[in-house]
Symmetry: C2
Subunit: 327 residues, 2 copies
DNA sequence: CTGAAAGCGCTTACAG
DNA sequence: CTGAAAGCGCTTACAG
């Protein structure tokens, strides 16, 4: 049924090795080249990748571990990874872990088992188990969105993002501020982003700043905001993510609190939707697509044993829109 | 370095075939079983999947072709596919085509080349080239979201969705109606969904209905809505997708048109975000996750050469929220 | 430039 | 229950 290299060789009147050489760009005479070319086309021959990989001991697979598939950040990053990988003739494999840490570890080992060449890890946390797995598999790994000294990392400048936002709301005259953040287990979002905001706000001695915590879910953020709006009466709520901001805005609408007249709200991320809602959300744009592209470039370099910076930091960009009032 | 079945066999003092049999659940005596088990654990042995696939002539890969990664519908469907595939020890491969029809065809052939066992195709259109490719590769294919008599298909009940929405706005007293749809090249969304609406509206002789077309992009929808709001003065705009509805709502906000007091708006899809915006969007919920699960189940059955319905239709559900006024 | 041969790491009849 | 042998479809030195 399906043709093998032997069939082609026989039809072309040459040895299998010659066909293989042709396939792999080795030196072949023009006559045999044309001959083989024609036969391959005629026979609709495609090489068996398993036989290739078995022999060559390597694959063109790059595995990507993602905590979730239904997030703007993940989607954009994946698209960037995929585009760049395609260009370089690598194929992306995705393992979705649905925010389950155990599955994350499992996925790493699974990928190793499949002899993929490298792993791109979009993790929210890096635990000991992660480090052990990364060490065990002896395959290049690059971390995206989080950093760790023992692993090649690519991150967004969370601290600067926080700082930009902190400065901005100060500039707009806000003095009574609520920061609605997330768990510190997520270093990037939970710690650095908040640190940036805090650092900017510390330049303002007469500011009142209160910190609250919620989850990444819009509904949880909504509930948290409802409580906050009952007790505190801040002029602005700085949310750790655009999704949280969306939840806060919803809560405000339901309570009849107008944005930005009664309450300013900000996010982080720069999701497409933040521009479409009303009022449009002031946020800090993260370059997820570019992060994906660069992560792909880095993992390929790592696979090819070329040097790569241990840490790359992507710039971020403040986007001023309508959800912040100028007091 | 990495262990092979031969190493394990030697250490266990048995033949390679015995180890293989153990691995594949064949009959082995308790003693050798325990022995092999122990050695495998000690040596941290993992079978080489390429050698397995080369010999066994099949893989546990299921390829999924998606037109885009950054859409709620795609994400949810992929999650459903992935979950179900995992359960059955299949691995999902994703090819993103960025809405490029040529890449879609290419992806199908690429998958075949990689000897994947089956393909799940989330296409917006089914062209001759698709049919040729599907026919050429001789691998089971299931179409999701679109239907075609020559291919196993799994669809949402677009016609009924349209009908439900048409009935609903009629029930709410709307008589001056604009339908903002998309290209008929997309049969499911462009034709059937619209047909459903039309069918419902035809029961209303004194209704005024006008049809417009836009793209799937929010920004295009926004521009289209801006024009529509200048000329026509409908009481409701029925949008072919939630994203289009989001664009329409944005345009309305910018023009100072209040929703739903001045204009009612509806969508299709049931994206999470539609609940968070204000006012919450009336829409028809599609069960993307379940579609993914079922598509996975079907493709597995097809791979195992079990019978599968040529066409499966998933139910949809009207969700009444605040964006439709009761006149 | 070309070919014969060995081998990648498995699985699968076939004997015993 | 167990083993020896052949073979899956390729690639890679090695000779010529």
């Amino acid at each position: 049924m399906t043709k093998t290299i032997a069939d082609i060789a026989k039809l072309a009147g040459v040895a299998k090795s010659t066909v293989s050489r042709y396939l792999n760009g080795g030196s072949v005479s023009d006559r045999t080249r044309e001959n083989i070319e024609r036969i391959i086309k005629e026979q609709n021959y495609v090489p068996n990748t398993f036989a290739q990989s078995l022999k060559a001991k390597r694959t063109n697979f790059i595995g990507t571990v993602v905590p979730r598939l239904d997030s703007y950040a993940t989607s954009q990053t994946l698209i960037g990874i995929d585009e760049e990988l395609r260009k370089n003739h690598y194929q992306m494999l995705i393992a979705n872990t649905s925010q389950d840490l155990d599955r994350e570890i499992e996925a790493i080992y699974d990928f190793a088992r499949q002899k993929i060449s490298g792993i791109i890890l979009l993790a929210a946390q890096v635990t000991e188990a992660h480090l052990t797995a990364i060490h065990d598999i002896r395959i290049p790994v690059i971390l995206v969105g989080q950093q760790h000294d023992q692993v090649h990392s690519l991150v967004h400048d969370d601290k600067r993002a926080g700082w930009l936002m902190g400065r901005h709301i100060l500039d707009q005259g806000h003095r009574d501020i609520v920061y609605l953040g997330v768990t510190e287990k997520d270093r990037a979002v939970g710690v650095y982003r908040k640190e940036g905001v805090k650092q900017a706000l510390e330049t303002c001695p007469d500011c009142r700043v209160r910190y609250f915590e919620t989850s990444f879910k819009m509904t949880d953020a909504m509930a948290a905001a409802t409580r906050i709006l009952e007790d505190a009466k801040p002029s602005v709520i700085v949310c750790a993510t655009d999704n949280i901001a969306l939840g806060v805005i919803k809560a405000a609408h339901l309570k009849g609190v107008r944005i930005p007249e009664d309450l300013s709200v900000t996010g982080f991320g720069g999701y497409d939707i933040t521009e479409m809602i009303h009022p449009a959300l002031t946020t800090v744009k993260y370059h997820y697509f570019q992060a994906g592209e660069q992560a792909a470039r880095h993992i390929i370099q790592l696979v090819l044993e070329q040097p790569v910076d241990r840490l790359s930091v992507l710039d971020v960009e403040l986007i001023r829109r309508e959800s912040v009032d100028n007091l």
